[in-house]
């Protein structure tokens, strides 16, 4: 599968119109200088030769060097990874905390005003375009109120706006899921039994209700991985967050082939790996499922 991914990426990247040599040289380029630069990059060779060379290098873990930075492309990708992981982890943590809170609150009194309000909010959260939300948050919290920094990475404060922007959609999805789950399990016989035998409410919730929610929550997180990746790309662009998403966008714009190949393959592999992890977790949580 990864072989297929690698090939597809190689082909897409080469078919993208636009010349990496031209970007590198800018408006001061001349046709001769561009031709020279192409030769230097090995781009004047036939596609099949380029592909063979590329595969041979990839086989030994060499993704080539960035046209712009001259450094190994894979090292650049790894360098950007922590920033993206930090952002994603913060967003998922925020999602879990807030959606459990909101979901429990809504499930406490079904069809109350609070339930209704939370329901509408979570739907709105799912409908808001995240890049727009990011801009509005910058306008309100960084510019008008001056509470939070507007860009970049550094202190935990820098993390707040991007993480919130990234998590809003997820929170919308998860809150609805958790509310529905609690409502459903709370009516089950075993929960009623637990209550009847005098178990304190927190213990009922933790031992019986939340535990049974784990499987659907993990499943839903797995389902949302794709939109999480999409969100990371957009949010990193809005907040100048120096992560993988921004790396990919700039590398595509610059036609920095080695970096595009390394980063997109890496993200695709990560994506496949995480999906597998979700499946395995699912199997671990639910004894009926055997993953073979």
């Amino acid at each position: 599968m990864i072989g297929g991914v690698v090939t597809i990426i190689f082909l897409i990247v080469r078919v993208i119109p636009g010349d990496p040599a031209a970007v590198l040289l800018g408006t001061h380029a001349t046709a001769e200088l561009i031709a020279e630069q192409r030769a230097k990059m090995g781009l004047d060779r036939p596609l099949a030769v380029q592909y063979a060379l590329f595969l041979r290098q990839v086989a030994v873990g060499d993704w080539g060097r960035s046209y712009h930075e001259g450094r190994p492309a894979f090292a650049i990708v790894l360098e950007r990874l922590p920033a993206t992981l930090e952002l994603a982890a913060a967003a998922i943590a925020a999602t879990l905390v807030l959606s459990v809170l909101l979901g429990s609150l809504a499930a406490r009194r079904i069809q109350s005003t609070a339930d209704y309000a939370i329901g509408v909010l979570s739907l709105v959260g799912q409908a808001i375009p995240n890049f727009w939300l990011g801009l509005v948050l910058i306008l309100v919290f960084a510019r008008t109120l001056r509470w939070l920094p507007s860009f970049g990475r550094g202190t935990p404060w820098h993390l707040v706006l991007p993480a919130v922007t990234l998590s809003v959609q997820l929170i919308g999805v998860m809150t609805r899921l958790i509310r529905a789950g609690i409502v459903e399990t709370a009516g089950q016989d075993y929960v009623r039994t637990a209550r009847a035998k005098g178990l304190a409410e927190p213990a009922v919730m933790t031992r019986h209700v939340y535990r049974n929610m784990l499987i659907p929550v993990v499943t839903m997180l797995g389902l949302q991985l794709g939109s999480l990746v999409a969100g990371v790309v957009v949010v990193e662009t809005v907040f100048a967050w120096p992560g993988l998403g921004r790396l990919i966008v700039t590398a595509i714009n610059n036609r920095d082939y080695p970096v595009v190949q390394a980063s997109v393959t890496f993200v695709a592999a990560l994506f496949v790996g995480l999906n597998l992890l979700v499946d395995l977790t699912y199997a671990a949580l639910d004894p009926r499922i055997r993953y073979t």
Partner: protein
């Protein structure tokens, strides 16, 4: 009774609180004594002063702080001033002798020698980049440790102008672009680190040959691509200075008591090239009609107010050998008449390619399309990704192209000779007389004689319209009041060597 929050989320909540508290301790104004933080809108591709990025503005600006050149141009006195070369003379029209300043050291501790100058010239020719053509015909010879002779294949009137662009590097510098990751020069600041897409950090060179310079300990250039992010960071004090603002931001910041706004000239001109090798733009009447159909001052008073003024020549008014031309004379009726005269009474269809790298280019492109539509020039506006746009541009694969260029060396030759000689194949316009004038000017050493030739070149370009010259860019510098004694430069290349910061 209220269902309490479960154990798992409670731990997570605690974690969030702790994180937030630790953040509180670290947050606060970023301003540090002795450190000047500047945000730039462009991406730093490389710091190699001779490489492919050598003509990129941000690379030149950073180069000003890292490197010195043999000579500098003094726009006030209108003459070249000594820098690393203390004195120089022209032995004959093709031979120049430079005497180097004694006791200058590179950041790595090595001495400035004639050999370093020779390496630098060789490097500019070997590491291919925009400076390569400027030094293609130059050879250097170190006649003694502090004396270097430059020979040119033919008389080269622009040699001194070109030298103001050439950052001198140590004699042992390799001929590879990797040097750009760890540049070493003699400049007022030494390189500390570069984190791609994030920041470039420089620190004061305490052994700098000009006494009392630099005045700040640390210079940090941070990369904030979004305009709103840059301005917000300036307002909150996260950064001290930025440039390239929009008219709207300028108007808003002018009311601020903590931020100063200053406007300066640039070497930059923006234009709409018309491909004279394609129908119907091969007809000079059509090209002139387009020039007259554009209401340039309506654009400079609204969309680009304060960041551009109408162009008065193919090159900027502060560029050496600039010659003022009369306005095109905006008149929709006149433009229609000229189109009809050329046989296009029913209008023409053309495509305009552009790239949104320049400030407000989107709005300018839309305005141009709207204005031309009024006289029957139906424009298909194609915004291209940079990678495709540059490629199409140099292949002449366009009808109209909206772009701009800086006369990097501050000399008319840099823009006029490079772009409008038919040998350059940049605009599709071919005129043997123009070629002859440009060739003659390039090999003329006397400045006054050179300028007479360039004056004629500018007249031809203005009336033959291989492009409509739209604006002369202005640069806006916005800085917090803690930044002191910043002087507005005469071009878009500024220096912070003499700037100090209040604690």
């Amino acid at each position: 009774m209220m269902p309490m929050i479960g154990r798992l989320p409670r731990t997570a909540l605690l974690l969030v609180v702790i994180l937030a508290a630790s953040g509180l301790a670290q947050a606060g104004p970023a301003a540090q004594p002795g450190t000047l933080t500047v945000a730039y809108p462009q991406r730093v591709v490389s710091l190699d002063p001779h490489g492919t990025a050598a003509a990129e503005r941000i690379t030149i600006i950073l180069g000003r702080h890292l490197f010195d050149t043999l000579v500098t141009w003094d726009p006030a006195a209108k003459r070249f001033q000594p820098a690393l070369a203390e004195r120089w003379r022209s032995v004959n029209p093709t031979t120049w002798e430079f005497e180097l300043r004694r006791g200058v050291k590179f950041h790595d501790g090595s001495d400035l020698t004639a050999e370093a100058v020779r390496t630098t010239i060789e490097r500019a020719k070997t590491v291919r980049g925009p400076l390569t053509p400027l030094f293609a015909s130059v050879t250097a010879e170190a006649t003694d440790p502090l004396r270097v002779v430059l020979r040119t294949a033919a008389p080269l009137g622009t040699l001194l102008s070109n030298l103001t662009m050439l950052g001198i590097v140590p004699a042992a510098t390799p001929m590879t672009p990797a040097f750009g990751d760890r540049p070493i020069g003699t400049g007022p600041f030494r390189f500390v680190e570069m984190v791609r897409d994030t920041r470039v950090v420089l620190e004061a060179n305490v052994n700098y040959w000009r006494p009392g310079i630099p005045k700040v300990r640390r210079l940090v250039f941070v990369d904030i691509p979004e305009l709103s992010g840059r301005v917000t960071a300036l307002e909150t004090g996260e950064i001290d200075m930025t440039f390239q603002l929009t008219p709207e931001e300028i108007r808003r910041l002018r009311g601020s008591t903590t931020i100063k706004i200053e406007v300066g000239p640039t070497f930059y001109t923006r234009f709409l090239w018309l491909n004279a090798s394609r129908k119907p733009l091969d007809d000079v009447r059509v090209r002139r009609a387009i020039a007259r159909a554009l209401n340039i001052s309506a654009i400079t008073s609204s969309l680009v107010a304060g960041i551009a003024k109408p162009a008065t020549a193919p090159i900027g008014s502060n560029v050496l050998c600039y010659a003022e031309q009369p306005p095109y004379g905006y008149s929709g009726a006149e433009a229609r008449r000229m189109l009809a005269e050329a046989g296009y009474a029913r209008g023409i269809d053309v495509e305009m390619k552009w790239n949104d790298a320049l400030p407000k280019e989107r709005e300018v492109a839309d305005a141009i399309v709207g204005q031309l539509a009024l006289v029957g020039v139906r424009v298909r506006s194609t915004l291209q990704p940079r990678a495709i746009w540059v490629d199409d541009l140099v292949r002449l694969n366009w009808d109209m192209n909206l772009l701009g260029t800086g006369a990097v060396t501050g000399d008319a030759d840099y823009s006029l000779g490079r772009l409008y000689h038919s040998r350059a194949r940049r605009t599709g316009y071919v005129n043997p007389e123009l070629d002859r004038l440009l060739d003659e000017a390039a090999s003329t050493v006397n400045t006054a004689a050179r300028c007479r030739l360039y004056q004629r070149v500018q007249e031809i370009l203005w009336s033959e319209v291989p492009g409509v010259f739209l604006f002369e860019s202005l640069e806006v510098y916005a800085y917090r009041t803690r930044v002191q004694s910043f002087t507005v430069p005469t071009s878009e290349i500024f220096s912070l060597s003499e700037v100090s910061v209040a604690p």
